[in-house]
């Protein structure tokens, strides 16, 4: 079993180059053509951004629908989407467009916002670097996680879901090499619902889930 290499990352946001959306129709049209990285940013990278850690919804489209368009129905429908349950961003995009099209069909007036409340399409560059830290024994993983930065937690548990082999976090991939002994941990990791927590909370959840029984886990 190779040692686990602890990486860290920093998120650098930038404008996508798309014009901002002033109403729901424009939001729909921009989502239809935006880069996958833009969708990924607004659905998945919100946890690493400076923002209040207890928002109603994790994705920016749902938050904007509620706060600025004033459309709580649309916000609820978009807010429940779990981006990690889709095979890729294209599949997610198709569902988002379907939801918005359905909503546009229900409304008699297209909701719009005041200048200053537009939706701004952004994306990010993730700068990934090796921390130099190595974990030799899976039994030490929970302690190492507790020392990790938010960036490390994000990179190994969330960003990893986008990297091949898709759909698997780095901790699970590593523990798989450890043999049957660690199978129960894989199930626990797979059952963590991280949609409603910030990264600090997720770190606690992960550390607790991976704590061996003899240490109170």
């Amino acid at each position: 079993m190779k040692p686990f290499e602890v990486k860290d990352c920093a998120l650098l946001m930038r404008m996508s180059g798309l014009p901002p959306a002033m109403n729901l129709r424009e939001l729909r049209d921009r989502i239809a053509i935006c880069d996958e990285d833009v969708l990924y940013h607004h659905f998945c990278e919100t946890t690493l951004r400076p923002m209040f850690d207890d928002p109603d919804y994790r994705n920016d489209f749902a938050v904007w629908s509620k706060l600025y368009l004033g459309d709580r129905v649309l916000a609820e429908r978009l807010g429940i989407l779990d981006p990690y349950s889709f095979a890729g961003m294209e599949e997610l995009r198709a569902v988002v467009l379907e939801i918005i099209d359905d909503r546009l069909g229900e409304l008699t007036v297209i909701p719009w916002v005041r200048p200053g409340d537009e939706f701004f399409f952004k994306q990010s560059t993730t700068v990934v670097f090796d921390t130099g830290e190595r974990i030799e024994d899976p039994k030490d993983l929970h302690r190492a996680i507790q020392r990790m930065t938010n960036g490390s937690v994000y990179y190994h548990f969330l960003e990893a879901l986008r990297r091949p082999p898709a759909g698997k976090d780095d901790f699970s991939s590593w523990l798989l090499d450890g043999g049957e002994e660690f199978e129960p941990y894989l199930h626990i990791l797979g059952s963590i619902d991280f949609q409603f927590h910030g990264l600090a909370h997720l770190r606690e959840d992960l550390a607790r889930a991976l704590r061996p029984a003899e240490e109170g886990g």
Binding site: D8, G116, S124, T149
Partner: protein
């Protein structure tokens, strides 16, 4: 590790500081020069005051240069500043000529340093023309706009745009402040230094001293707005809100601001504020010197509620300062205040002086709720708006522009 960085471990956490060191190692010896227009006064100078030494501490060869200008130059750049924030202030051709001449004089002095640097970060419009005057530049040039230019007075923006379009990248505090430019536009919210004179913990005796110095009654609630005397900060609106509250509660108001060497309009606004205050002994209008950081710190700590009722705002570092001191903040529903004041969680966003008065009254009546908001506010700043996060963003940006790739993920 430098003692300065080590001191942040206790506040921001060991992992945040370790992260900075690791990013800094990848940029060891990288020559970066910041250029702005004032050494003291205003948010930009405050940021550079800490950022440059900390960049050095993590291994970069960082320096800070300030352009020199005539009083006329600063009057013109103040007009440019106001126009970029949306006021219909025309800047005639002859003024742009003066602007360019002053930049040329500064280029004569700074050119060797700027052309040799690996990266040059030009802050705000005043020194933006320097790019055109350094044709043999070797590094990447980044224009850092600290103000909200989302709805500028277009004739002025059209001219400035020709000066900044040639940069390799630009930085805005928020997406809402950006204008389309033909290069990557990065988003980096600013931050505060929790160990600076303006934000460090203060002894109660020192706070009491400041209270006594300005004749503030310890028995009655205190509202504090700290900001430059600038119309966009709406100090008159704050006085109106105070008067509405005063009908039902014996509050006191402090409007404290410093002058900045690049802000000649402040005097005029201050006179208007004094007139609006009308000699009310419970309105304390304080014009403080640029280095009165501890006084401002004490005033914010003495406040029951911090106010920042801006009608246009860049980021609003005074909001961050208030939140960090555990105060609920009532802020204008504009600009960077929206990013910091989570409505009903860390304070309230308001659009009118009536709205401000309403929320002040609410917080005065719900002291426990106000305290909870203050605690939430402090943790919110710890996670998002301390200089450790800000420095990390700059290091990531320098690494990104150095890599010359536009990939979603950059592996170092």
């Amino acid at each position: 590790m430098s003692p300065r960085l080590a001191a942040y471990e206790a506040i921001a956490g060991t992992s945040a500081v370790t992260q900075l060191r690791r990013l800094g190692e990848k940029l060891a010896g990288f020559r970066v020069v910041h250029v702005n227009s004032t050494r003291e006064g205003g948010g930009v100078a405050e940021i550079l005051e800490w950022m440059v030494p900390y960049m050095r501490d993590v291994g970069l060869d960082a320096s800070w240069e300030v352009i020199r200008g005539t009083p006329r130059f600063f009057e013109i750049t103040k007009n440019v500043h106001n126009a970029l924030q949306g006021r219909a202030v025309d800047v005639p051709k002859k003024d742009w000529r003066i602007y360019q001449d002053v930049n040329e004089e500064n280029a004569e002095r700074l050119r060797p340093l700027l052309e040799e640097a690996d990266a040059v970060i030009i802050h705000d419009p005043q020194p933006a023309y320097l790019l055109k005057l350094c044709p043999d530049r070797k590094g990447k040039w980044v224009w850092r706009a600290h103000i909200d230019i989302s709805r500028p007075f277009r004739p002025v923006w059209k001219v400035l745009r020709t000066f900044v379009a040639g940069y390799d990248a630009s930085i805005f505090s928020m997406a809402e402040f950006a204008m389309p430019l033909p290069h990557p536009q990065f988003l980096v919210p600013p931050s505060i230094d929790p160990l600076s004179e303006k934000n460090r913990e203060l002894e109660l005796s020192e706070q009491d001293g400041v209270r006594a110095e300005f004749g503030i009654d310890p028995e009655r609630p205190l509202l504090v707005q700290v900001s430059r005397f600038d119309r966009f900060k709406d100090p008159i609106g704050v006085i109106r809100a105070y008067r509405l509250v005063r009908k039902v509660a014996p509050v006191q108001l402090v409007l404290a601001g410093g002058g900045a060497s690049d802000d000649p309009e402040g005097k005029e606004v201050l006179e208007d504020v004094m007139e609006a205050a009308g000699g009310d002994p419970d309105i304390h209008v304080l014009l403080l010197p640029p280095n009165a950081h501890r006084t401002i710190n004490a005033l914010q700590r003495l406040a029951d509620i911090v106010i920042q009722k801006s009608t246009r705002e860049g980021f609003g570092l005074t909001v961050t300062e208030g939140l960090w001191k555990g105060k609920p903040v009532i802020g204008g529903d504009v600009g960077g205040i929206r990013l910091q004041v989570a409505d009903h969680h860390t304070g309230f966003l308001v659009n009118t002086f009536e709205g401000a008065a309403h929320r002040i009254r609410y917080l005065l009546q719900h002291r426990k709720r106000a305290m909870e908001m203050g605690n939430t506010a402090r943790e919110f700043v710890r996670e998002n708006f301390l200089l450790t996060r800000h420095l990390r963003d700059y290091l990531a940006l320098l690494l990104t522009i150095r890599s010359r790739r536009g990939d979603h993920v950059v592996y170092l």
